[in-house]
Amino acid sequence: MQTTRRFSDWIPILIFLLPGLVLFVLFFLGPMLYSLRISFYDWKIVHPDQSIFLGFSNYQKALSDPIFQRATLNTAAYTAITVIVKMILGLAVALLLNQSLPGRTFFRVAYYLPVITSWVIVSLLFEYMFNGQAGLVNYVLNDIFHFTSKDVLWFADPILTLVPIILLDIWKGVGWTAIIYLAGLQSIPAELYEAARVDGANPLDQLRYITWPLLRSSTVFLTVVLVIGGLNAYISFQLMTKGGNPLDLTHSILTLMYEATFSRLDFGYGAAISYLLTIFVFFISLIELRLLKQQAM
């Protein structure tokens, strides 16, 4: 057997790869490297040749900016809460939908429906529901259950603003998490449960010793994908906080990036923020994969 290929063997392979590579370089790698370059400059959009090289000062400015720190904190809190809740609820829904219940198909569709709704439309709907003076949520809390004595101005408070944003993501995301878990559940052989029942394992034991370990690959996949999605939160934040209202305390990292780039025309700073986010995402994904691998051993 020949173990090393000759160069001429590589030519057809390279040619096959070329269309994909060209698109990748043209539309992904090229812009990425270009924006990496922008992040080191005070970038002039009309006359890039007049841009001033700043070194790492855009990155330093971001890391020492209290607005960026707050945006990072908001994004981290949002990601942690939504990912954990979506996984727990998603697993619960998947376990229910995996039973042979009447109307199972209906419920599968019903739980998945929010996933395919438009982010913009449901963000606006949640904004209406949480309206501080005429919203449905205040009506229920205040006039029906009397939990509160006066109307809550959800979007006027930097912490309470996150409540509708987080609830929206959970409502919209549980269906997808459930579908991934459901696929995982259906790949677990039924014999394992039969054997466990014979050995006297109750449903809780079955969940703990059979279902959960065998869903590990689904869990790893979901954790990585959901965390990346959470860190990239943009639409709901942008629409519901109107870009950081109040007092720039409710930005996500991406809304801050958008504002720096497109409303203040500070392209270098915006590019630096997106690279910082990229670095966060990269390291967090690395840590997740490491931890989940360890857990398996």
Binding site: V22, V46, N245, F262, R264
Partner: protein, 442 residues
């Protein structure tokens, strides 16, 4: 097998070339009609004599954010312009306001810019500072004759660093809107004329026992919202030359204006919606939740569509302590992009838009003209009168590329004082420091 692989590789190479070529090719409009075979193509009839002065047909690209009704009227203006200027065609592209800046920046960075643009007056210094706009004075032949007839406030919004980078296309300002039903129910017969009356009326009308009601409401804390009251009470953001904000944005008049607003808020005479997430001012005013709001001429059309039975009543902004009224100048300017290949044709279009005919045509759909000579013109809608009167005293926001940041500094100061974190003086002192830093940094 070998040839098969080679063929595939060849096809793959072709595909790559196709992708690259497609990306580089200029966009060609698809032919709308197949050529009719029986007719000889026009090109075969070669002209026997070369045309002596062939006017190269020029198409200029005009970008704007007009509404439906305005865009329909713009079609008429374009038709009239094209008739008067054979050889020049105007193609327009319409954007949503919120996407417009991004679209312009994308075009600029891609090097493929529109020729003329109608943009928000506060963007002009920003884009001029980036070098994206053509200087009007010294280039536009009609510059002197046009600007001698425009309102000074709107014209000033085009000025940056010693030159003008646009022409005031349409203008607007904000006046007081008062809900006559609420006023009558509360036993108030006329809109307030002074700020003292304004505060008193706002608190007379607030929270009638049966329902939640406020005397006054503001759309948010962004500067545009409190600006009419701020300017009417003598407030200033910076000095004329834009060298400092200290003593201006935190001066006694500015502090008095924000103190009055904070007092109205604390006494529940002003709705808390301005902090975020409440009932919108336009709906609240028509539905009787807000007795007074301050807004622009477009409210006529908005109410016509959403609340056809609602009677809109305008009044001038109440006068401040020195007895004068004021407000804030809004509107759009027409600019010519520095990267335009058709500057001459674009200048003709810009000059045409500033002519009395085009201005009157657009006035029919609510665009207020910027020409002094059109004051009192019989063809203008009657509700323009109060706005044109208000425009005589209305002030432009600081024409500076860092205005967005200055706006944010004042907005945050306003938020902090409403939340009780700082007194109006402390909050505005901080804003002054922040704005001074912005001026120094540019």
């Amino acid at each position: 097998m070998k040839t098969n692989r080679f063929t595939l590789a060849f096809v793959s190479l072709l595909a790559t070339c196709a992708i690259l070529l497609a990306a580089c090719a200029p966009a060609t409009p698809a032919p709308t009609q197949a050529p009719v075979a029986t007719e000889p193509p026009a090109a075969t009839e070669a002209p026997t004599t070369a045309p002596t002065e062939a006017p190269e047909p020029v198409t200029i690209q005009y970008w704007h954010t007009h509404s439906d009704a305005e865009a329909a009227q713009l079609d008429e203006v374009i038709a009239a312009f094209e008739e008067a200027n054979p050889g020049i065609q105007v193609e327009f592209t319409r954007y949503a306001y919120n996407d417009f800046k991004t679209a312009l920046l994308t075009a600029i960075s891609g090097g493929d810019v529109p020729d003329a643009v109608r943009m928000d007056i506060v963007w002009v210094p920003e884009f001029a500072n980036e070098g994206a706009l053509m200087q009007m004075d010294g280039n536009l032949p009609e510059f002197e004759s046009i600007t001698s007839d425009t309102f000074p406030g709107p014209l000033a919004t085009n000025f940056w660093n010693g030159h003008y980078y646009g022409l005031p296309l349409d203008t607007n300002t904000q006046v007081l809107l008062w809900n006559i039903d609420i006023f009558e129910a509360a036993g108030v017969s006329a809109p307030p004329a002074t700020m003292e009356e304004f505060a008193a009326v706002a608190c007379t009308i607030n929270r009638s026992p049966a329902e939640t009601r406020y005397g006054y409401a503001q759309g948010g804390t962004y500067f545009w919202a409190p600006a009419p009251i701020f300017y009417a009470m003598g407030g200033k953001v910076t000095d004329e030359e834009i060298t400092t904000a200290t003593g201006y944005v935190n001066g006694p008049e500015s502090v008095a204006a924000f103190t009055m607003l904070k007092d109205l808020y604390d006494q529940s005479c002003m709705s808390p919606n301005l902090l975020g997430g409440g009932i919108a001012t336009d709906a609240g005013h028509a539905e009787g939740t807000y007795a007074m709001i301050i807004d622009g001429p477009w409210m006529v059309d908005i109410y016509k569509g959403n609340y056809p039975d609602f009677e809109v009543n305008f009044a001038p902004i109440p006068t401040g302590p020195d007895g004068t009224t004021s407000s804030v100048v809004g509107g759009e300017d027409v600019v010519i992009m520095d990267g335009s290949q058709n500057k001459d044709a674009a200048m003709k279009w810009a000059a045409y838009l500033l002519g009395a005919d085009a201005q009157k045509m657009m006035a029919a759909v609510g665009q207020m003209p910027t020409l002094v000579s059109l004051i009192g013109d019989a063809s203008l809608p009657p509700y323009f009168a109060v706005f044109q009167e208000q425009l005589k005293t209305a002030q432009a926001r600081v024409p500076h590329p860092k205005w967005s940041d200055m706006d944010n500094a004042i907005s945050n100061a306003y938020q902090r004082m409403l939340r009780g974190e700082q007194t109006p003086q402390e909050a505005l002192d901080q804003a002054a420091t922040e704005i001074d830093a912005l001026i120094a940094g540019s």
